[in-house]
């Protein structure tokens, strides 16, 4: 049967995100946020999620709306500081102890996710050695370099944003929209991609940034970002 991973609406696949699921959400610096999917997810209201995303508080990403809706039990992030002196909704829940925070240096964060998708259960990284973020972690000197043992991160669902997709699930990104999406797609059981445009014919091979094998569902939003 001809493969076709395109879906008309994402409601059904998003509704499969269960209470307690680990979800990864792409986006960095204002590009690549799957806000179309996040809006549906917020309405679906699963609870006790673990959220793996670069930032817990980026104003352009609707990840913060999941936190405001008290759907998140734990975040694994590189940034969790709200702007301004007021506490952000994340910071309030963190202070109250209702949300758990794992703060990870961004390079270890992206590499741990890549490792999760690449079948590397753990690796040694020089990043973070000698800092509070490595507290309690195993360390080791390898060829004169002090390293921290970092474990892979895997997830249940990856929500990513691309520019174009084909029916096979191949994804093309618009410039820095890419950021964490390829690694996250490899590290999760189910990847749902929102894109500007989902075409019937195959993407030219040279345009494919994320191979189809990593993508389960594609939904077109018709919007530039």
């Amino acid at each position: 049967m001809a493969i076709d991973k395109r879906i008309e609406t994402a409601k059904e696949v998003i509704s499969k995100i269960f209470d307690g699921a680990v979800i990864m959400v792409s986006g960095f610096g204002g590009a690549g946020f799957p806000n179309f999917l996040l809006e549906i997810l917020r309405d679906a209201e699963p609870k006790e999620l673990t959220l793996v995303a670069n930032s817990a508080t980026h104003p352009y990403s609707l990840t913060h709306s999941l936190i405001e809706a008290k759907m998140v039990r734990k975040v694994i992030v590189t940034a969790a500081r709200g702007r301004g002196k007021e506490l952000s909704p994340f910071e309030e829940q963190w202070r109250d102890g209702s949300i758990e925070l794992e703060c990870v240096p961004q390079g270890n964060f992206s590499e741990r996710i890549r490792a999760g998708g690449a079948g590397i259960p753990a690796f040694y990284s020089p990043t973070g050695y000698g800092t509070d973020l490595a507290k309690g972690k195993e360390t080791r000197e390898i060829n004169g370099k002090n390293c921290v043992l970092e474990e892979a991160i895997t997830g249940d669902f990856a929500l990513i944003r691309g520019d174009r997709a084909d029916r096979f699930g191949n994804i093309n990104f618009n410039t820095t929209q890419m950021n964490f999406a390829p690694a996250m797609a490899t590290a999760c059981e189910v990847t749902i991609a929102e894109v500007r445009e989902a075409i019937d014919e195959a993407l030219p091979t040279t345009d494919v940034h994320l191979p189809s094998v990593y993508v389960n569902h594609v939904v077109a939003t018709g919007k530039e970002i």
């Binding site: 960095f28 610096g29 204002g30 590009a31 690549g32 817990a56 508080t57 352009y60 590189t78 940034a79 969790a80 500081r81 709200g82 506490l87 952000s88 994340f90 910071e91 963190w94 202070r95 925070l101 703060c103 990870v104 240096p105 961004q106 390079g107 270890n108 992206s110 590499e111 996710i113 890549r114 990284s125 020089p126 990043t127 973070g128 050695y129 000698g130 800092t131 509070d132 973020l133 520019d163 618009n174 410039t175 820095t176 929209q177 890419m178 950021n179 964490f180 999406a181 390829p182 690694a183 940034h209 530039e224 970002i225």
Partner: protein
């Protein structure tokens, strides 16, 4: 000459970037350095969200909402630029392929320890981003900072008080009053504001700071405001 302002510190740091280098500029003051790189030097700016070859900020005519740098600025690409995902970007950073990273700093210790990510504001979330990876991975780590805190406390210390970004990583410090190298013999000023004596410099620095035998006056164009 008065103490340097932010743009003058950025100008001063920019003069030291060698032709042909690859440089990552941190958020805040460091990103200003890109405005002052001498025009006879061909420098590639890396942004950890996945750009090698960041160009000038975008304007209304050339803006692409998906093309941003790690500081969420809408940017352009220079000729010869390339794009990649976060895992590859940090492989580039961690793997020692960035010549210089210029980072903001709260504190630097005499042995080159850097503290720049957690200023211990109660209940505000951490924001580590890529700083730990950059500090460990770049061939050289420079910092830019005011020589003293707003209340006059020193920031060049015997030991850092704030949580470390990385131990033993800083090579050079640009402040409003001096350019300081971190050497095996401790802090050594290679440039100092003419109006400041070595005694005054030491009074504003916790750790002892010596003058290089060829220490020059710190200067910057007066019209940078």
């Amino acid at each position: 000459m008065k103490p340097l302002n932010r743009n003058q510190i950025a100008w001063r740091a920019a003069q030291d970037i060698p032709d042909g280098n690859v440089v990552n500029l941190g958020l805040g003051m460091p990103v200003l350095v890109s405005n002052y790189i001498p025009s006879d030097r061909d420098v590639f700016l890396q942004s950890e969200n996945g750009i090698l070859g960041v160009g000038p900020e975008a304007n209304e005519l050339n803006i692409n909402p998906n093309l941003v740098d790690a500081g969420s600025r809408k940017v352009t690409l220079r000729g010869g630029a390339s794009l990649f995902d976060s895992a590859n970007s940090f492989a580039m950073i961690r793997g020692g392929h960035i010549d210089i990273t210029i980072l903001g700093a709260f504190e630097v210790s005499i042995s080159g320890d850097l503290a720049n990510w957690d200023s211990r504001i109660p209940d505000k979330g951490p924001l580590v981003g890529g700083a730990m990876d950059l500090a460990v991975g770049a061939k050289s780590t420079w910092t830019m900072m005011q020589h003293n805190t707003k209340d006059g406390s020193p920031r060049l210390l015997n030991y850092c008080n704030l949580p470390l970004t990385a131990p033993k990583c800083v090579n050079r410090i640009y402040t409003d009053i001096a350019v300081v190298d971190v050497t095996n013999q401790g802090f050594m000023a290679i440039e100092l504001l003419e109006s400041i004596t070595v005694e005054e410099l030491n009074a504003r620095t916790e750790a002892e700071i010596s003058l290089a035998s060829d220490c020059k006056p710190l200067q910057a164009p007066a019209d940078l405001i």
